[in-house]
Symmetry: C2
Subunit: 407 residues, 2 copies
C-alpha cells in the first residue's frame, strides 16, 4: 500500500464538485457532490445520538435498504436536524433533483448536512446548488479538492487523502475527504467522512470492514465530548478497478482493510488536530493493557478531559490530570503501577514511575509539550493490548467559536 | 426549618479556625481546623475515582472503621494525591500532631487536602499549621468563616450555610462549608464539603441520610466533567442539641434530612455558580420523566456539554445543543415530543414544542440568558419524575485558569 495524491476522485470512475449555493455562508463554496459512473455498493456508519438529523435517517434507509448508491449531495451551514417532516421532505427533494439531473433513481442518492441545528434548509437554494454541481463534476484532483473545501464549517483547512494497493494483480485505489472535528462533536463540527474506492468487494465485507475500522479511527477521536446529531461516514465501492471481487477474508481483503485504515486514520487525526480552536494534536496511547477495550476506555477518557486539554494548551506537564482522568474512566487498573511519558518531535520524557512522580526537568517537559503534535503514553503493565485516541488542546478560541457561533 | 447565619460553627460544641501555613499560597490562609468538644459520629462520601488521594484513604479508614471523629484538618494548595507511602505518612503525621495538641486519639482526626496532584506536602509546615490552629479555635461566626476562607483554591468567595430545625421539642442546628467547584471537577477544584450538626442521631442513619442526599445535590453538579482524586464530603454529629436520639425514620429524621438537604443543595449550587471562570449558574431541569434516574441522566448530560456551556456564556439560545446533549446521554426518550424552555429572573420563553422550533424572539431569549442564573427546562412528557442538575458556563477564564494554573 502506498499513499497517493487526491481524495474522493482518486479511485476510478468517481467525480466530484463544489459550489457556492448561499445556504448560510456568503462568498464560499458550501455544497458538494460526489458521483460514480456506475452504481456503487454502499456502506455507512452513523451517529449513535438518539436525536438523528433528517439526512442521517435518509442515508440509513439507503445503506440498510438497497445498500446501493451512485451519488452523494452534501451541504454545510445548516444541519437539517430537529426539522421534523419538513426536513425529511428536503432530503427527498434534494435526492430527486440530483437523480433527475444525473439520470439515476432518487433512492441511489445519499445526502449529508452539517451546520446549525433546528433551522430548515432553503430547498430552492439546495435545488439551485444541485443544478450547478452536476455540470461541474470532474474526475480530476481539482474536482475532489473543490468538494473537500465546500463541506468545511469551522475547519481551518480541507482534509483529503488517498492510497493505492494491489489486489489480484491489479491496482485498487481508495480515497476520502472529511470535515468536522470529531465523531464526538456536534453542531457546526459534525463529523462527515466520505470514502470512495474502485475495489470490487461484496457489500457485506464492505460494511464489515468499515464498521470495524471506524471503532479504531473516527470513534477514537474527540474534540469536546459531544456527539453530533449528524455524524456520518459513507464508503462507496464501484468495482471499476477490475480486481477479482473480494468475497472472503483473504489476502486481498486484508490489503483493502489496511488501505481503508490508513485513509480513515489519516482523516480522523486531521479532524482531531483541526479541532475547534486547537493549537495541537493531542495523542494518547495506553499500552500494557489487559484488553484493547480497557486501553480504549482509558485513552479516550484522557483525551476528553477538559483539564488535561487546557494543560496541553498551557504546555504544562500536569500529569496528575492524566492519571485523574484514567482513574474516573471506569476501567480497572492499579494507579500505583502506572508509568507515564510525554513524547513529541522534541523528545521523550518520563514523568511518573509506578504512580509516583520521578525527578524530571519541567523545562524539558515544556519544550516537548510545545510541539504541534504531543503524545502521552501510559503503561499500565497488565498485558500486551494497547489503543490510541486523538484529541486536541482546549483553547480560548474554542470558547470564542462556540460562544459566538450562532449569533 | 429556617436558615440561620453561620457555617461549621453554627451547631453547639463546634469550633473552627483558619491559618496561613505557607503550604503553597503566600499571604493567605491555607489551613483550617474543625473541632468538636465531644466525639462525633462521622459519616462521609468520597470520590469514585480509582486514583484516591492519601487523605481520602485515611478518612475512609475512619468513616468505615470506628465511624467516630472529633476534629478535621484541611489544607489547600497541594492535594497529597499520587504521593504513595510518603503521602499516607503525612496524613498520619498530621493526625498525630493534631491529636496530641487536642488531647484526642489520632484515629479521631480526619484530614482533607486540595490542590495540585503529585507533589508531597511539606510536613513541617503542616505541623506548624496545626500548632497555630489549635489555640485559634473559636466557636464564633468568625471561627467558621476563617476556616471557610482557608480551604479555598480557585474559588472566588467562601461558601457557608446553616439551618435550624426542631426535633423532639429542642432546636437542632446543622451548618457547613465547602470549596471547589464540583464533585465532578479535579485538581485545584476538588470538592471538599464539611457539615457539622449537634443532632443526636445514630451513625447508621447519619451515613444513610448523607449518602442519599449527596446523590441529589453534590452529585448533580458539574463544572467540567472531571472527577477529582480528592472529593470528600464529611458530616459530623456530636449530639449536643440534646434531642431524643434519632434511631428510626420518623418525623425527626425527616426534619433532619430536610435541613441536611437545604445545607447540601445550597453549598452545591454555590460551587456550581462559582465554577472556574464562570459568569453564570446554569440550572437544567428535566420534567415529565418516566423515572428520576432518567431525568438525572438527561439533566447531567446537558449541564456537562461543553458546547451548551459555551452557548450559555455567549447568551445564545442554541437549543439544538441541548437537545443534542440529551440525545447522546444514553437515556431513552422521544426527541419529537420534547418541549424546551429557558427561564431566568428576566422571564421565561418557549423554544421548542414537540421537538421542533417555535417562533420565538431571539432578542427576548438573549435577554433571559443574560442573567447570572439561567434555567433550561425540558419536558419529555413520559411521566411525573423530574431532576435538576447545576453547572456553569464555559468561558475564556476557565481556559486561562487551567492552562496557567501550575506554571
Amino acid at each position: 500500500m502506498k499513499q497517493i495524491r487526491g481524495g474522493v476522485t482518486a479511485a476510478k470512475g468517481f467525480s466530484a464538485a463544489g459550489t457556492a449555493a448561499g445556504i448560510k455562508y456568503q462568498d464560499r463554496k458550501d455544497m458538494a457532490m460526489i458521483y460514480s459512473e456506475v452504481p456503487c455498493r454502499a456502506a455507512g456508519t452513523f451517529t449513535t445520538n438518539l436525536v438523528k438529523a433528517a439526512p442521517v435517517k435518509w442515508d440509513q434507509q439507503v445503506v440498510y435498504g438497497t445498500k446501493q448508491a451512485q451519488a452523494v449531495v452534501v451541504n454545510a451551514g445548516i444541519a437539517n436536524a430537529c426539522t421534523g417532516e419538513e426536513g425529511m421532505g428536503c432530503c427527498r427533494a434534494t435526492a430527486q433533483k440530483a437523480g433527475e439531473l444525473l439520470g439515476i433513481p432518487a433512492e441511489q442518492v445519499l445526502v449529508a448536512s452539517t451546520g446549525v441545528i433546528g433551522k430548515q434548509l432553503p430547498v430552492d437554494r439546495i435545488r439551485g446548488g444541485v443544478e450547478a454541481l452536476v455540470p461541474a463534476l470532474a474526475g480530476s484532483l481539482e474536482g475532489g479538492h473543490d468538494a473537500a473545501l465546500a463541506i468545511m464549517t469551522t475547519d481551518t483547512h480541507e482534509k483529503e487523502v488517498a492510497a493505492a494497493f494491489t489486489a489480484g494483480g491489479v491496482t485498487v485505489t481508495i480515497g476520502g475527504m472529511c470535515k468536522g472535528s470529531g465523531m464526538i462533536h456536534p453542531n457546526m463540527c459534525t463529523m462527515l467522512s466520505f470514502v470512495t474506492t474502485d475495489a470490487a468487494i461484496s457489500q457485506e465485507l464492505l460494511q464489515e470492514a468499515l464498521r470495524a475500522d471506524v471503532e479504531d479511527t473516527y470513534n477514537m477521536i474527540s474534540v469536546d465530548g459531544d456527539t453530533s446529531t449528524n455524524d456520518t461516514c459513507l464508503l462507496l465501492a464501484n468495482g471499476m478497478a477490475g480486481n477479482p471481487e473480494i468475497t472472503e477474508k483473504n489476502e486481498d481483503y486484508r490489503a483493502f482493510c489496511e488501505a481503508l485504515h490508513f485513509v480513515n486514520e489519516t482523516l480522523a487525526k486531521e479532524m482531531a488536530g483541526d479541532g475547534e480552536g486547537a493549537t495541537a494534536l493531542f495523542e494518547v496511547r495506553v499500552v500494557g493493557a489487559a484488553t484493547k477495550e480497557q486501553a480504549k476506555v482509558l485513552s479516550k477518557s484522557v483525551v476528553t478531559s477538559s483539564l488535561t486539554k487546557a494543560a496541553i494548551y498551557g504546555h504544562d506537564a500536569n500529569w496528575g490530570r492524566i492519571l485523574c482522568a484514567m482513574g474516573y474512566s471506569g476501567a480497572e487498573f492499579d494507579p500505583e503501577r502506572v508509568d507515564l511519558f510525554f513524547e513529541s518531535a522534541a523528545g521523550r520524557i518520563r514523568l511518573i514511575s509506578d504512580g509516583v512522580a520521578v525527578d524530571y526537568s519541567e523545562e524539558e517537559a515544556t519544550r516537548i509539550l510545545s510541539e504541534p503534535k504531543v503524545t502521552a503514553i501510559a503503561d499500565i503493565k497488565m498485558g500486551d493490548a494497547e489503543a490510541t485516541a486523538w484529541g486536541c488542546d482546549l483553547t480560548y478560541d474554542y470558547v470564542k467559536i462556540n460562544a459566538d457561533y450562532r449569533s
